[in-house]
């Protein structure tokens, strides 16, 4: 398991792995928003939590097809299927590697980008907390989507069509927590719901992802 995790992380970090691509995308979204809605700082600070959450979600979405597609093409997945490691564990490791290379950098960078959008100072802690709790769910759900579409050529668009509705509950609670935090209201309820979704998804969805992957490899 550890070997697989280290291999995935190395592949992602080295050239052509797409590490930092999500981060750059997140930055560009954040920079483009003021051009789209105007530079009034009051308006920007009001929509900042939602924009940051949307940006993080889209950045995650962008990198999903990298989770499994390359391994599918060069036959690594077939080897994994024959390995003693259960498919559920392999899928979970893939999701974890995706989160470490995409989700975690987004969480760390989010306060910096929040500065650009003039987020009220009360909102920083809830924003980072909600992203920290929510982005693992995005990676796990995304891995399920990637497993569904791995056998389809040019399945990227289909992948987003399938995954976006599944992202909805996470987005709702995450953005709500960040928004309440920015307004200085108690944000624990949406945070608890978000944590519930994340842990539930981590516990259950790898079984579905593994089942789907077995069908695709068959």
């Amino acid at each position: 398991m550890k070997a697989l995790l280290i291999r995935d992380l190395r592949l992602a970090i080295r050239a052509g792995g797409g590490f930092g691509l999500g981060l750059a995308f997140f930055l560009i979204v954040t920079v483009l928003v003021p051009f789209g809605v105007g530079p009034q700082s009051a308006l920007l600070s009001e929509i900042a939590p939602g924009i940051l959450w949307l940006g993080a979600l889209l950045a995650c979405l962008l990198s999903l097809d990298r989770i499994l597609a390359l391994d599918w093409e060069d036959g690594t997945l077939d080897l994994l299927a024959c390995a003693p490691l259960p498919m559920e564990a392999a899928v979970s490791i893939k999701a974890l590697a995706h989160w470490l290379t995409t989700g975690l950098p987004l969480v760390i960078a989010a306060p910096l980008f929040a500065l650009l959008l003039n987020l009220p100072s009360a909102g920083y802690v809830p924003l980072v907390l909600s992203l920290l709790l929510g982005t693992p769910a995005l990676s796990v759900i995304g891995t399920f989507g990637a497993a569904l579409t791995v056998g389809i050529k040019r399945g990227g668009l289909l992948l987003s069509l399938l995954v976006l509705p599944l992202y909805l509950p996470t987005l709702i609670y995450g953005a709500e927590a960040a928004r309440r935090g920015a307004q200085g209201v108690e944000a624990s309820t949406p945070l608890f719901m978000l944590a519930g979704i994340t842990f539930g998804v981590i516990a259950l969805l790898p079984f579905a992802s593994a089942a789907v992957l077995r069908v695709n490899i068959r």
Binding site: T149, L158, L162, L166, I172
Partner: protein
């Protein structure tokens, strides 16, 4: 004699061939009675005027939009557990009907909402949930269309349907949390006293029965088509071999 015998395509074809005309005709009769009665022989509502009559299309289609997904969930489970091809094909056949029902519910709702709420669309929990349901249907249909191998497609869409159902319910409650509602509450529950008045209720029951039968007829027809298409491709493959 058990229900599972109809998983045999030949038996299914024989039975569905007998049911299909009955369902189709009964559906037509129910819809004509319900719609004519509802549109021409019920009074106008004292506040909503004649716009209330869109209920005869809106409520049955909304009801069916959810129930079609439930039916797809059940048939997907049957496919995963017992691997009867007819079941998977029925789920595939039902999805476009479900999407049509969702669309009818959304469009009739918008037409009614414009004069009543003063807006075509509001981010109300019920409306939003239906839009999400619509997206789930689209994803499901797209996945069926994208995969060439029939059994792989059936497996993947079945699992998507199961996972999607869980997330659809999650979204339903998340959306409730996210915004307060504009849509009126349930008015047809069997267990509450305060329902829609009897004059509107009776034709509505005919319309609902008509929509249910319409769905049964359409899904049987489409499943039969799918089975025949499968048989044709099998025959063609055999011909190429020989």
């Amino acid at each position: 004699m058990s229900l599972w015998e109809y998983a045999n395509p030949v038996k299914f074809m024989a039975l569905s061939g007998r049911i299909l005309p009955w369902a189709a005709w009964l559906s037509g009769i129910c819809l004509v009675i319900g719609l004519v009665w509802g549109f021409f022989y019920t009074p106008d509502d004292f506040r909503q005027g004649s716009t209330v009559k869109i209920i005869y299309l809106h409520v049955p289609s909304a009801l069916m939009a959810i129930n079609v997904w439930m039916m797809m969930l059940v048939t997907s489970l049957v496919w995963i557990i017992r691997r009867h091809h007819v079941s998977a094909l029925a789920a595939k056949a039902a999805a476009p009907i479900g999407v049509a029902m969702t669309l009818i519910a959304l469009v009739t709702g918008a037409i009614w909402g414009q004069p009543m709420w003063g807006t075509w669309w509001a981010w109300d929990p019920r409306l939003t949930s239906f839009l999400i349901l619509f997206l789930f249907y689209l994803g499901y249909i797209a996945l069926w269309a994208a995969i060439e191998d029939n059994d792989t497609a059936a497996d993947l869409t079945s699992i998507l349907c199961l996972v999607g159902s869980v997330f659809a319910i999650l979204s339903r409650y998340a959306v409730n949390f996210w915004n307060q509602g504009l849509h009126q509450g349930a008015s047809l529950s069997l267990d509450t006293e305060k329902n829609v008045a009897d004059v509107f209720y009776q034709p509505l029951l005919f319309c609902i029965a008509g929509f249910v039968l319409l769905f049964v007829a359409l899904v049987l027809l489409r499943t039969r088509t799918e089975i025949r298409a499968r048989r044709t491709s099998a025959l063609l493959a055999r011909e190429r071999m020989g």
